[in-house]
Symmetry: C2
């Protein structure tokens, strides 16, 4: 599949392969604090998982650790892949394909917003702020489901 | 991160965001047949997992099912994500980021090579053909390790 780009000087049409743009998002969760979200400083406004574009020459894992650090000030250790989210309408700006990692913070430090995040904080899974942008509400539901599934046969009800 | 493209008509330099290109690969495995590999009809020559580029407007899951079908003639059902592989040097042609799905064939039909695959066949995991291109040897090792780990406490030795 191709897309056409116009040369800004001469207007010539240039054909390029059209692919989704690869991104990463990170679910950082501590049971007694909740999940780490950023409040976006740019459109679309609202709450989102820390994340961003994978740069050429960079691994997806490096991008995930870098974006978490840039947006929340926290160093994280990746613990797995929750899923890959690539619905063409998941981001209103363009088609992105996001690898969503689960991670733990390296310390109990308070998050500190940076880059294009206006705020960064932990939020209990059962009291999430709104609106949550992109498809991050679906991702957070999948994460909560995976926690619930893993704890299905624990007699005490799961909280937080 | 940016890359510069030259307009083929006027030579004007056009700055574009530089990201890896998203791809998918599929590990189709049946214990009594082995893993489904294609013999590539184009460079780099050798054996590879079925897979290819994710098109704009297409989900990663759709791309995985489509590529498996185009290259091997088999309809598959996805069973999970083995991992995401994005080392910048994994493909000699350009930086790609591949979501590797595990899958099962919908039928026991023989594979039939198509698209840029010269041949398609199942190969026992312990008698893989060579050379295996890209980082698909590493992916197949990770897959074999995941099988071995899942069967670690089975007293009978795992074969195939």
């Amino acid at each position: 599949m191709f897309k056409t780009l116009s040369c800004p000087r001469c207007g010539h049409g240039i054909s390029l392969f059209a692919n989704p743009t690869p991104t990463v998002d990170v679910v950082v969760y501590l049971p007694w604090r909740g999940v780490l979200l950023v409040e976006r400083g740019n459109e679309p406004f609202g709450y989102a998982l820390p994340g961003g574009f994978v740069d050429e020459g960079e691994t997806a894992e490096s991008a995930a650790v870098r974006e978490a650090s840039e947006e929340t000030g926290l160093e994280v250790v990746l613990t797995g892949i929750l899923g890959v989210y690539s619905r063409p309408d998941r981001d209103p700006r363009r088609h992105t394909m996001s690898v969503v990692y689960t991670a733990l913070p390296m310390t109990q430090d308070e998050p500190r917003a940076g880059d294009d995040a206006a705020r960064a904080a932990y939020h209990p899974l059962d009291r999430l702020p709104r609106p949550i942008v992109f498809d991050h509400e679906e991702i957070l539901r999948d994460f909560a489901d995976s926690l619930a599934r893993a704890n299905r046969y624990v007699s005490k009800a799961l909280k937080g």
